[in-house]
């Protein structure tokens, strides 16, 4: 059973639009939710993260909205740029005591100029 789900699988937006990537999870013990960005041929890199005690986290053009009751979160990328074209992974970790991240399958974002 997949514990972290992402949608859509792929997304195309025009430059300047806001891209919205969705994530949901099953395990109520998850309390830390990082988003990773991966370019082809590279390893994933942390983009932004949120703890379950917060409902919003902003970092420049990137914003996470978090709904604990519904076990859902979303990553909003404002003013999307072609350089944002990448695969985005939602991940989660909980009460294991270590950074045991459970990843979603990813969303492939393409920003067209």
């Amino acid at each position: 059973q997949q514990q972290v789900r992402q949608s859509p699988q792929s997304l195309t937006v025009w430059e300047g639009e806001t891209a919205i990537l969705n994530c949901s999870y099953e395990n109520s013990a998850f309390d830390y939710f990082p988003w990773y960005q991966q370019f082809p041929g590279e390893g994933p890199a942390l983009l932004i993260s949120i703890l379950s005690v917060s409902d919003k986290k902003e970092d420049g053009r990137f914003t996470i909205f978090f709904n604990k009751r519904e076990k859902k979160l979303s990553l909003h990328i404002a003013d999307s740029q072609p350089g944002d074209s990448a695969t985005y992974f939602c991940a989660a970790s909980g009460d294991s005591g270590y950074n045991k991240l459970t990843f979603g399958k990813g969303t492939v974002l393409l920003v067209s100029p």
Binding site: V4, Q9, D31, Y32, P34, Y36, G41, E42, G43, P44, A45, L46, S49, L51, F89, A91, S93, S96, G97, Y98, N99, K100, L101, T102, F103, G104, K105, G106
Partner: protein, 113 residues
């Protein structure tokens, strides 16, 4: 800053062969991880190590062995390569504890013929 170096970058093996992947990090991180990335399936944890000489199984440990020879290095062995297997193996590291950034290497791309 630091870097995670994975060797080799590309690995072609034969069915049934035992294959070893190596990882070095100079972050001085306590915890290291091995993830497997399959196309369209996200990242799945194979093994992790909290400190030197420690090994913990992840969700995908069957068919793999791991070794944490020293703090800076973590090796993964595919005990018997499966025909037509294709995946990227990602090494990662982080400081001890929870909710801390996990840093990834660029991966070893395995093809089994």
């Amino acid at each position: 800053g630091g870097i995670i170096t994975q060797t080799p970058k590309f690995l072609i093996g034969q069915e049934g062969q035992k294959l070893t992947l190596k990882c070095q990090q100079n972050f001085n991180h306590d915890t290291m991880y091995w993830y497997r990335q399959d196309s369209g399936k996200g990242l799945r944890l194979i093994y992790y190590s909290i400190t030197e000489n420690d090994l913990q199984k992840g969700d995908l440990s069957e068919g793999y062995d791991a070794s944490r020879e020293k703090k800076s290095s973590f090796s993964l062995t595919v005990t018997s390569a499966q025909k037509n297997e294709m995946a990227v193996f990602l090494c990662a590291s982080s400081i001890a504890g929870t909710n801390t950034e996990v840093f990834f290497g660029k991966g070893t791309r395995l093809t089994v013929v």
